[in-house]
Subunit: 220 residues, 4 copies
DNA sequence: GATGAATGAGTTTTCATTCAT
DNA sequence: TATGAATGAAAACTCATTCAT
């Protein structure tokens, strides 16, 4: 009680600010911006309501911080996954599939979907927030992916006109039918469906832009 | 009373029910489900609040009907566009681009985006609604597209393993970076960007699955 | 459709006015004045809402008529029961019990309790209605009872100073703990409890005002 | 902050909770449950509407607490009055009249009548509340009265079979025509009428169960 | 006279936000 | 800084009542 940490009875030391942020992510993604109550967030965080206001000013600001933090966290994880994509074209198909898996897992984990739904929900009302989230979330990911693909193209393992377009298309092909499969993240996706999505996406990508004979022949 | 139903001078009798629906689409998509007030919807529709309740029971039901109707309207328009895709493979690239344009225009017109954002926003809270919207919206579109692509494949104009996968990928490639371009529908897309999206999407699709030499050569 | 009776499909001929009154009694007593909706009354009566207004003007007036009619009906029945009380003092105790039973049954039948609760509920808001109900309901009953008791006293079968007081006390003694027994009419009363109430009430009345030795001696 | 709790100059801090309860009694009894608005209660209490909800949850709960508190308060006062009834039978008639007066005053003071009307009005809708009110209100009163009367009987000052019945009948005789006299509490009762009611009630009670020669002779 | 549809006024309840400590 | 209590503003929903036919 004297110093900094009354420790909220039991949990670690994560101070109140991050407890609130954590709670806010949970409640916002579970209920949506408008339906989420500061009451509920404070309760989940184990603090009093005014404490939320002391730390974050108002609901919208708390929301913005939640969204920006989330975008950053997610994109950092994805970028880390992309970093492991080798340049040398060895087992390109397998490597792309591996990377695609990790991208999908990150972007579309439980929190990821929640944030995505929130972004859609509030994009019209908070256009600047949308920009910030893109700038910290998908844009860096695309940039890095673009770089990796360009590298592979430079070494002759891929062949396309514009690496930025290719990067976008890679993401589109690989995650394009995940919304449908997971009902926008509200239902678990069967492992097999996930694998198939990745496989068919990478397959199409390599058909379009690969320079080597495909591992699996087209017909029979 | 004489002609189409306007009467009693001031009040206007056209069709309150559809006036309300129209207003609801506008307000819901502009504000989001929770922020949209029945007050506002009634005002936009030019009716009294209880009239909304007389016709639709409650807010959630009104929302469901808005979403289902919207999904149906949109998918019907897209299907009509797909119907015009010829089977004979004549100028396949041009035809695919033409169709892609119409698909994009329909699906992502002003109302389309709004409904899509609403769907994302409320999918977690109303999972059955999500199912209905998919069943009346994207699923029929994919089915029809699948059929057309299969026809083209049968005649040798395309070559893929699974027409359903190809259909999904066609949509993904062609509309995959529209969310980014239009900021989830909150900003107008430059004609040129739209064209480029369609062109690069169709290009990639044909590189992957086309059977004829591509019109535009890969490099220079 | 031409003449007077479209007969409301099936039921007898009781025309709409009394159908509405009947329904109103049911709904008012079941729900209370404020909670009772004209909608519900109209539905129970099988008519359209404006029909209720055509017949009765407004809710309060309908309520007044329901209450007055009910008071009159009830008091008429009770008075009929009292008329059968013989003057000659033969088996006075038995006769008083018989009459008490009939009084209680009438006054506190299902509808009776409902109207009583309504009267209590709205007495403060509609004092004139209270007066009318008393004038048509309990007052005539007391008057008649007073007359019968005075007759018995004249013939030496009872002995009191003021027959009006005695009449009031007879009712009080006989029905005084019915509210408790029936939870103000919301719960069925066991036959035995009813009998006991009547017996002990008449017994006390005769102890106070009887002129003959009591049938059942005081002690053992 | 120094003394009883008033502070911060303007707002008044005395005790919002009891201010609300007091206001609720007033408004509920004046208007009835359904017609009473939380608005009005808050206004009378001098607090904001949500404060009412913070303290009591919802309207029905507030109502229940009002009723239970009222029943308890009233019965406590009556029981205190009964406690002063001496056991020794000295001036029994006068003592019974004195007690009867105090019972009537308590039970049927302004608030008492209001609560009684509310109880009648809502008994059908809230049967458990009825039970609680009886359990805290009339039942304890009857129990205590029963004990006092039994004591008097044991000492030979009264003579009846069942003290519980006698207690009920005492109340019935003494307050039986108060509803009529006061128009269910909506009109002031003349002192003389009150006295007469008590006198005739006690007189009848002693005629039925007294063991001494009555003070006032029966006839002339 | 009877009705389907419409409405103005009002209700309970919730919520983001702020005092006072 | 943290909080218990209070509040202004608004939202969903209901209802008695009335048009227009």
């Amino acid at each position: 009680m004297t110093e900094s940490g009354r420790s909220t009875a039991g949990r670690g030391r994560i101070d109140k600010r991050s407890a609130i942020l954590e709670a806010a992510v949970k409640v916002f993604t579970r209920e949506g911006y408008a339906q989420a109550g500061i009451d509920a967030i404070a309760a989940v965080a184990g603090v009093a309501k005014p404490t939320v206001y002391n730390h974050f000013g108002d609901k919208e600001n708390l929301f913005r911080i939640v969204m920006r933090d989330g975008a950053e966290r997610t994109s950092n994880r994805i970028i880390a996954a992309l970093a492991s994509l080798p340049d040398d074209g060895q087992d390109l198909e397998g490597e792309l599939e591996r990377v695609a898996h990790r991208v999908i897992e990150c972007q579309l984990g439980d929190e990821g979907w929640g944030l995505q739904r929130l972004l859609y929900a509030e994009a019209a009302r908070l256009p600047d927030l949308y920009d910030q989230v893109v700038a910290r979330g998908s844009q860096p990911v695309l940039d890095v992916l673009c770089g990796r693909l360009a590298g592979l193209a430079n070494r002759g393992h891929l062949d396309f006109d514009d690496p930025a377009v290719a990067a976008t298309q890679f993401i589109a092909l690989v995650s394009g039918n995940l919304p449908g499969l997971s009902a926008l993240g509200t239902r678990p996706v069967a492992r097999a469906d996930l694998d198939a999505a990745v496989r068919t996406g990478v397959d199409a990508f390599l058909r379009a832009y690969g320079t080597q004979r495909r591992r699996r022949p087209r017909r029979g």
